[in-house]
C-alpha cells in the first residue's frame, strides 16, 4: 500500500457529488499536483484528507492505518497538515505570535509548566521561538517578525500560512492553491519555497488551478473533473491528455 492512499472515496452534499469514487495514491517524498477546473472537488479532497469533512463513502489510509473519521487535530498529530485558501492566520497577532500559537505540537512541556513559569518551560519556549525564526528564514518571510500579521501583503500572508503549517512538523503537507491571486513572479517565488520544503523530506500535495505553476515543480499530476479523476501521470502527459484539454476548454487551454 502507498504512503497515503484514498480508496473509493465519495463525498456528497445533498444530491451533489463533490467527489465520486475517487482512488488516489501518494508516494513518500513526491510533489503531487492536483489540477482541475473550479468546482471539480480539489478543495473537497483536501478537506477530506485533513479530517475537516468526513467521506460519505470510502477510506483514507496513511502509513497503512485508517485515518478517516478522525478529528482534524488528530490527523495533524499524525503528520498530515494543511493550509487554507483564505482565512490563513490568527487575526490580530504579530507574525511571531501567529507562529507560536500554531506551534502547538512543538511544545513538549505541559501547560502547568508555563503556568508556574518553570525552567523547563522557558527552555521549551525558547526552542519554539527558535524554530519559528528558522522557518521565517527558510521562507524568506520578511525579517521583522513583530509586524502585525494581518497587515502583511497577500502573498506574505500565504507564505506565513505555509510557515504555520510547517510548525506542526508535517510529513505530508497539503497546500490549497498557495498561489491564487499572485502574479507569475510571486507564484514562482512560492514554488521555489515549496521545492525547498520538499527537499527536507516532506511529501507535498499541491492543489493548483493554474497548470503552468505545476509544470516546474510537481513530480506527478492528477486531474480532477466533476469529482472524478480523469488523468494521472507525468505533468507533460497529463497536460496533453485529451480529456484534460477538454475539461479546461474555454477556461485556460494549455
Amino acid at each position: 500500500m502507498s504512503y497515503l492512499e484514498l480508496q473509493n472515496v465519495s463525498k456528497h452534499f445533498g444530491r451533489l457529488a463533490a467527489l465520486d469514487q475517487l482512488d488516489l495514491k501518494v508516494e513518500k517524498g513526491e510533489i503531487l499536483g492536483i489540477v482541475g477546473p473550479n468546482g471539480s472537488g480539489k478543495t473537497t479532497l483536501i478537506n477530506l484528507i485533513s479530517g475537516y469533512f468526513k467521506p460519505t463513502k470510502g477510506q483514507v489510509f496513511f502509513e497503512n492505518k485508517r485515518i478517516c473519521c478522525q478529528r482534524p487535530d488528530q490527523i495533524t498529530k499524525k503528520g498530515i497538515v494543511r493550509t487554507f485558501q483564505s482565512n490563513v492566520l490568527f487575526p490580530g497577532g504579530t507574525v511571531v505570535e501567529n507562529l507560536l500559537i500554531s506551534s502547538h505540537l512543538n511544545y513538549n512541556t505541559r501547560s502547568w509548566h508555563s503556568f508556574f513559569n518553570t525552567k523547563k518551560w522557558k527552555e521549551d519556549n525558547e526552542q519554539a521561538v527558535g524554530r519559528a525564526i528558522e522557518l521565517v528564514n527558510l521562507l524568506d518571510l520578511l525579517n521583522d517578525i513583530f509586524l502585525q500579521a494581518d497587515g502583511l501583503s497577500h502573498g506574505y500572508q500565504r507564505l506565513l500560512g505555509i510557515a504555520m503549517a510547517l510548525t506542526a512538523n508535517p510529513h505530508v503537507l497539503l497546500l490549497d492553491e498557495p498561489t491564487t491571486g499572485m502574479n507569475h513572479e510571486e507564484a514562482m517565488f512560492v514554488v521555489d519555497k515549496i521545492k525547498k520544503i520538499n527537499e527536507q523530506g516532506v511529501t507535498i500535495i499541491l492543489i493548483e488551478h493554474n497548470m503552468k505553476v505545476l509544470l516546474g515543480v510537481a513530480t506527478r499530476v492528477a486531474c480532477l473533473s466533476f469529482g472524478t479523476k480523469i488523468a494521472d501521470g507525468m505533468p507533460e502527459d497529463v497536460m496533453n491528455h485529451p480529456e484534460v484539454v477538454e475539461a479546461y476548454l474555454g477556461t485556460e487551454v494549455v
Partner: protein
C-alpha cells in the same frame, strides 16, 4: 548610581508611576478596615469583589471565543451547594465551601462536554437557559432547597489561633472582607497566569480562528472545556461566599439579571485584561447599581443601569472598556504624549 537614576528617570517612570498608583490603591483597600468598619462600605466592596470574580469567569470563557450567559447559574450552584451542606446536612463550613466550587466546576464540565461541541450562540442560549433551570429547580425542590423561602445560612465558626480570636464572622463584616480579598487575589493570580501562559496563547488561537487552530493540532473542545470549567469553579466559590455573607439564599438571589450583570461588568470593564477589567467593571457597576437601588423607586435603578451601560458601549470605541481608559489617562492627561500612530498608517 547616578547613571541608574538617570535610566529610571528617562525610561521607566512612565511605566512605574501608574503601577505605583495601582499598588497604593490596592494597599488602601487592604487597609480600609483599619480606617472604617462601616457595614455599608464594606459590604458594597465585598459584593462588588464577588461579582468581579464572576465577571473574571466570563472573561476567561470569552478568551476561548464563547459567550457564557450562565455565570449566575454557577454562583447559584456554588451557593446552594454550600448552603445545603451546612444547613441541611450539618457539614462544617470549610469543607462545604471547598466542595461548592468543585461541584460548580463539575456541572460546568459536564455541560461543557455537551454544549461546547457546538459553541457560538447555541452555547450562549444554553447557558442562559441553565440559569432559569437552576432557578426553577431551586424553587420547586422544596425538601432540599426549601423553595422560595430559601436557606438561611450561618456564619463560619470564628477562627482562633492559641486562644486569640483572629476572625469572628458574626461580629463584623471585616473577616468576610478579607475572605473576599483572598478569593479575588487567588482568582486574579490564577487567571493572570493562565492568560500569560501557553494556555492563554492557545485560548487566543481557539478564539481567533478555530478552524485553523484545529488544523494545527489543537483540540478545540479540550481547551474550551478547560476554560469553562475553571470559570465554573471560581464562580462557584464566589457564589458560596456571597450566600454566606448574605446569610440567605433564595431562588431570587441569582437569576437572569445577575448573569447579564456579570457579563456587562466584564465587557464594560474591558475584556483585554483578564483581571483588571472585571475588577474595575465589578466595582464601578455594582457601586452604581447599589447607589441606584437606594432610590426606592421600583424600576428606576434598572432603567438607569441599562441606559448607562448602553451609553458606555456607544461612547467607548470598539474593543475597549474602562480598563483601557487607565492607559489613555496616563498617556494623554498626565504625560501629554503625542500620538505616534501615524507611523503605522504610512505602511
Amino acid at each position: 548610581m547616578m547613571q541608574f537614576f538617570k535610566t529610571i528617570h528617562l525610561m521607566d517612570y512612565k511605566n512605574i508611576v501608574p503601577k505605583l498608583v495601582i499598588g497604593l490603591v490596592v494597599a488602601a483597600i487592604v487597609l480600609l478596615p483599619v480606617v472604617t468598619k462601616d457595614v455599608v462600605i464594606l459590604s458594597m466592596l465585598i459584593f462588588s469583589g464577588l461579582w468581579a470574580v464572576a465577571a473574571m469567569g466570563f472573561t476567561l470563557v470569552l478568551r476561548t471565543g464563547q459567550f457564557s450567559l450562565g455565570q449566575s447559574a454557577f454562583m447559584a450552584i456554588g451557593g446552594y451547594t454550600c448552603a445545603i451542606l451546612t444547613v441541611q446536612m450539618d457539614f462544617p463550613f470549610w469543607p462545604s465551601f471547598l466542595l461548592s466550587g468543585i461541584i460548580s466546576g463539575l456541572v460546568a464540565f459536564l455541560l461543557g462536554v455537551v454544549v461546547l461541541r457546538v459553541g457560538g450562540i447555541y452555547f450562549s442560549i444554553i447557558t442562559l437557559a441553565l440559569g432559569e433551570i437552576v432557578r426553577i429547580i431551586a424553587l420547586n425542590w422544596e425538601s432540599v432547597t426549601r423553595g422560595s423561602r430559601g436557606l438561611v445560612t450561618s456564619s463560619p465558626l470564628p477562627i482562633s489561633i492559641f486562644g486569640w480570636e483572629l476572625a469572628n464572622f458574626d461580629a463584623s463584616p471585616v473577616p468576610y472582607f478579607y475572605f473576599m480579598l483572598c478569593l479575588v487575589a487567588i482568582t486574579g493570580v490564577v487567571f493572570w497566569r493562565i492568560g500569560d501562559s501557553r494556555l492563554g496563547q492557545i485560548f487566543a488561537g481557539v478564539a481567533l480562528n478555530p478552524e485553523l487552530a484545529e488544523h494545527q493540532g489543537i483540540h478545540l473542545m479540550k481547551y474550551r472545556i478547560i476554560a469553562f470549567t475553571i470559570a465554573g469553579v471560581f464562580t462557584g466559590y464566589a457564589g458560596a461566599l456571597y450566600t454566606h455573607f448574605l446569610t440567605v439564599i433564595t431562588p431570587m438571589v441569582f437569576g437572569l439579571w445577575q448573569s447579564i450583570q456579570a457579563m456587562i461588568m466584564s465587557i464594560v470593564g474591558g475584556i483585554s485584561s483578564l483581571v483588571g477589567g472585571p475588577i474595575i467593571g465589578g466595582v464601578l457597576l455594582y457601586g452604581l447599581g447599589d447607589r441606584l437601588s437606594r432610590l426606592q423607586t421600583p424600576g428606576l435603578s434598572q432603567m438607569v443601569f441599562g441606559a448607562t451601560v448602553v451609553l458606555v458601549l456607544i461612547c467607548l470605541p470598539k474593543g475597549t472598556g474602562l480598563v483601557e481608559l487607565w492607559d489613555k489617562f496616563w498617556k494623554k492627561v498626565v504625560w501629554r504624549e503625542v500620538e505616534y500612530e501615524h507611523d503605522e498608517m504610512e505602511d
